[in-house]
């Protein structure tokens, strides 16, 4: 009688999630001597778990003299819900060793969920093996969890294999398998399943779209988002919106990003933290810092991601003092920085030449916040030393750092040596870089220039020979320019639309004349292939970023900023040309290349000619 009353009360507690109630009930149960009752104990563990009191659940569980399958299912579920899947997996072996029990289907399902939460694929396969040979191997719920686990761990084919074996496929299993394919970039398989599923709702669409964004297919994801809207799906959950905003950030598509922002406002999701963070990041990556700041300051609640998005944004646009100021404000407001924050901060120091500050931040990262420096941090610190001329220190760092320095790292140091005219160190590093068998053709140009300036002509010819034997770049250079609804892509060396080609050529020739008048001389060392000087100059003419700028000047609204995204590093000659163009036509040109942003205005670039 008493037992059933307490059972009922505990179940009500579990539903209401009020933390104080289960403790009160627990104390009453102990005083009444009912704590030996297994049923009550199990329910109490479950209730503690659901109310978030994981330590109480754990203690109670450890003290139970007699534990059964229900107790185990309750405690493992509690760990999963408290986001402690590692705890669940570490406590599980005592189910057999202490209690002599083999898992049932509830326990299997919970174990698989824990493995999914950790992406612990080895453990997951162990559980799968035991599940197959157990008597529960037809259970659809466990199979559904397995599909989810394999999808999260990046094994879409395994996920599909389990999925096909499910008798009655639930909406969750369809969503998991679609997500699995999408995350691994298998667009057509994912689409095929989306068309087949009887549960074509917001969740399956979200799984597809967010999976594609994660695997780098931002443009496809955006198209699918538009399809989803046409399908009439009501957006009751803001996750898909924040995913699309992230997609816009990665391709720097400002116009579409603004439309999605408008949609978020119209749907009432503007105050969501995830959407807010995504918007700050998107505007920063699309070079609209003003909007990024506006949204940031309008956020009611800011977490580490919000602060970091803005700090990194300011850093990438060369606003070092602003970034450091934000960092101070962040610390004052009690938010702890993470690894990404420090990458942004040290990056900003390196572009402003603040050596002491950069060193101090690097040390404070591990001393005050316990963050182990990663390769990115070391690269930024190296950059800092290189740009400010502390070349010996840079060389020392690169030899002592716990990571194997790769080609871009050495190349960065080498270009610094070239800039500061330090021939000795330069040649030393050039030799090391050469021995690494570099793949990037621009590295070879750099090497030959360094050797040439040191007068080592033999090495120069060696490098040139290697350069000619190297195959053409695997990735073709391209630039995209977006204006309003349009988005044009120009590939290097390819001829574009014949109607516009003539106009572009005419404009470029005119600009060229004007530039030469102002003292511009083409830098033909940027051209790899061996040909006549005149031919080389013509080659340079058709670099994709120039064509894109010309297109923007012809077709864009006069006076607006021209925004270009380039997939490779801007070459030295184009950098010069763009500076000139910006002063000739008196317009701002923003180019995002593979390394950073370049903001050309009035004949100058925000990167101070060092990229």
């Amino acid at each position: 009688m008493l037992v059933s009353r307490y059972l009922h009360q505990l179940r009500l507690c579990a539903k209401s999630h009020v933390p104080s109630s289960p403790k009160t009930l627990h104390s009453q149960i102990i005083k009444l001597g009912l704590h030996g009752c297994d049923l009550l104990a199990n329910t109490l563990v479950d209730t503690y778990g659901k109310c978030g009191l994981i330590h109480d659940a754990h203690n109670l569980f450890e003290e139970m003299p007699q534990r059964d399958h229900v107790s185990w299912a309750s405690i493992l579920t509690a760990y999963n819900q408290a986001d402690l899947p590692a705890e669940a997996l570490s406590v599980f072996p005592s189910m057999l060793s202490r209690d002599g029990l083999l898992p049932d289907h509830f326990v299997y399902a919970t174990l698989v969920k824990s493995c999914a939460g950790l992406c612990a694929i080895r453990q997951g396969k162990q559980v799968h093996a035991q599940f197959v040979v157990s008597s529960y191997n037809r259970d659809d719920v466990v199979k559904s969890s397995l599909v989810d686990m394999y999808a999260k761990c990046g094994l879409p084919f395994a996920a599909r294999a389990v999925f096909d074996s499910i008798m009655v496929k639930s909406s969750i299993s369809w969503t998991s398998v679609i997500s699995g394919y999408a995350r691994s970039g298998l667009k057509s398989e994912a689409m095929e399943l989306l068309l087949k599923t009887p549960f074509r709702n917001l969740y399956s669409w979200t799984a597809l779209i967010s999976g594609l964004v994660q695997s780098g297919f931002a443009t496809d994801a955006s198209h699918l988002f538009i399809e989803m809207r046409r399908d009439g799906i009501e957006i009751v959950d803001p996750l898909v919106v924040s995913t699309i905003v992230a997609a816009c950030a990665s391709v720097a598509c400002l116009e579409f990003g603004k439309q999605v922002h408008g949609l978020a406002v119209a749907l009432g999701y503007e105050s969501s933290l995830f959407i807010g963070n995504a918007l700050v990041d998107m505007y920063a990556k699309c070079s609209d810092l003003l909007s990024a700041r506006t949204i940031f300051y309008a956020l009611v609640w800011r977490d580490v991601v919000s602060w970091t998005s803005l700090i990194v944004g300011e850093a990438q646009h060369g606003k070092a003092m602003k970034a450091l100021e934000l960092y101070d404000q962040m610390v004052l407001s009690g938010v702890k920085p993470n690894e990404v924050t420090f990458v942004g901060l040290i990056y900003s120091c390196s572009h402003a030449g603040l050596v002491a500050k950069g060193r101090q931040l690097f040390e404070s990262m591990s001393e005050n916040y316990g963050i182990t420096p990663s390769l990115q941090h070391f690269t930024c610190l190296l950059d800092l030393f290189s740009r400010s001329g502390h070349l010996e220190e840079a060389e020392n760092l690169i030899s002592t750092m716990p990571f194997e320095p790769d080609e871009p790292t050495w190349a960065a140091l080498l270009s610094a040596c070239k800039k500061h005219g330090n021939k000795q160190v330069g040649v030393r590093i050039a030799d090391r870089l050469l021995s690494l068998n570099p793949q990037d053709p621009s590295t070879y140009i750099l090497l030959s220039n360094v050797y040439a300036s040191a007068g080592m002509w033999e090495s120069v010819s060696t490098v040139r020979k290697l350069m000619t034997s190297l195959e053409v770049k695997k990735e073709p250079g391209y630039s995209c320019i977006s204006m309003g609804k349009e988005r044009q892509v120009f590939y290097a060396g390819e001829t574009c639309d014949p109607d516009i080609k003539g106009e572009i050529l005419h404009l470029l020739k005119e600009l060229d004349k004007e530039m030469r008048r102002r003292g511009y001389v083409p830098d033909t060392s940027c051209v790899l292939v061996d040909m006549e000087e005149q031919e080389k100059e013509k080659q340079l003419f058709w670099h994709s970023e120039r064509v894109a700028v010309a297109y923007g000047l012809l077709k864009g609204v006069p006076g607006t900023v021209i925004r270009i995204v380039k997939n490779l590093r801007v070459c030295g000659d184009c950098h010069d040309v763009l500076k000139h163009i910006s002063s000739i036509v008196r317009r701002d040109i923003i180019v995002r290349d593979a390394t950073r942003y370049h903001h050309f205005a009035n004949g100058r670039c925000s990167c101070n000619d060092f990229w």
């Binding site: 570490s90 162990q126 093996a129 035991q130 040979v133 994660q214």
Partner: protein, 252 residues
Amino acid sequence: MAQTLARSFTSSRHLTLSSLIPKRLFSSSTSSITRPPSPATLLFSRRPLLPISHAVRSVIPVSAPRYTAIRCRVNRSGNSYSPLNSGSNFNERPPTEMAPLFPGCDYEHWLIVMDKPGGEGATKQQMIDCYVQTLARVLGSEEEAKKKIYNVSCERYFGFGCEIDEETSNKLEGLPGVLFVLPDSYVDPEYKDYGGKPSKNFCFLYCYVLFSPQLCVEIWIFCVDLKYLVLKCDFIAFAPMSVGLRVVSCYC
């Protein structure tokens, strides 16, 4: 022959014969032996026979559980512009070293789950042939494959257990018909048993039970078809003049 058998017994890691006898003698589980031994005779050996248990413990090394590093799957976008997209799960990563969840999981025993082995409507023999052929593709020969398979299943699930190393197991993935390659653990941890029943194909004609002076029991199985050889078995029922056997694992 006797020597070969003795050697094969001592070299097997699955033998836990003597430890089973006292508990299982009066168990009531059913026998899966296809042909009852006839006539079943209890032979008292005149030669002093080493108790198997003693031999087993001295010869077979105890394998420690293997702690293997977990490959952490970090969502790297690869683009220098999205350090912020490197996943919201910055705090939760799988621990780099984690003990196996189930006893007997040593990554030397693998459960291979297959999809429609032998084709639609295959017989048990066809299924087993398919298993042997699949494993033979990575081991080189069917004889090798047969030695390494320690159990097969053709009813509750379609698959087989085999004793190979992890590198070889990776080669099985992606072979036609192979659904999953999973690390096997004890089904019956008390008896350190990887489970599974041998197919009816492995059949026995008669067996001899021997008692050594130390009252440990050894079972010597002679098969009609000398291709097959029993590695391990235990008692499941005992009555005077007859003995039922459940063959737990064997190789051929």
